[in-house]
Subunit: 118 residues, 2 copies
DNA sequence: CTGGATCCTATAAGATACTG
DNA sequence: CAGTATCTTATAGGATCCAG
């Protein structure tokens, strides 16, 4: 009946909101790696380790659509595309840092906890 | 041929390791809410908002198996169970805090970015 | 109140092959 | 090099009903 509010998403809390952007298996890793500076597609793929072309492209497109990542196509042959973080993407990457540190510090316990099988 | 190393998980980085523990839609929210103090099952379910019994129990069991959450059953009738964080779980919850803050600060932009679809 | 069990669907993710 | 397209599988997640 009205033109407004197609349906603005509502979040239960800040963490919920963040997870809409970085949810999934690959996005945090992509974001965090790009914190180290702009990266070409191939470089990014090697860095993420294990990701398929399909997933990498898909996640990159979503991150770009959400304004976290900037894609720069140099229009050259052979192709040359560079991905970098927007200011907002960078701040999100920074927010991921403590989680990364936690993982490094507790890598041993985590590996042990994971071994018995889930 | 050897007894050791059934297959110790290997992580590509700290963030990767962390995600093995807090990956998924609900675990971060559970962890973070429990940072506010121990909570009974029903209380937790109301707090997480939208989670089903099945998912909540499942995620809680995994978090418990991984040593992040402690389940205390009071053995009463009617049942009374309290969930709390282990020291490690608490440190993980703390590492989630910046992400939560980021979501709060950027809730507006996130909602806007999410609206167009995907 | 705190779950367990079952069934079902949606989405994430992986494999493979192909293209400008 | 940087993707696209298609197919298939795995897992996450949801609905419903049941139980001590």
């Amino acid at each position: 009946m009205s033109l407004q509010s197609t349906d603005t998403p509502v979040f239960s809390c800040g963490l919920d909101a963040s997870l809409r952007i970085v949810g999934g298996k690959w996005k945090p890793l992509i974001l965090y790696f790009l914190c180290g500076g702009p990266s070409r597609y191939g470089e990014l793929k090697r860095a993420v380790a294990g990701v398929s072309d399909k997933m990498l492209i898909q996640q990159l497109k979503e991150l770009e659509a959400h304004g976290m990542v900037i894609r720069k196509d140099y229009g050259e042959i052979p192709p040359r595309v560079e991905y970098s973080l927007s200011p907002m993407g960078r701040s999100l990457g920074d927010a991921l840092k403590p989680l990364c540190v936690w993982g490094e510090q507790n890598a041993g316990e985590i590996a042990a906890a994971l071994r018995p099988g889930s």
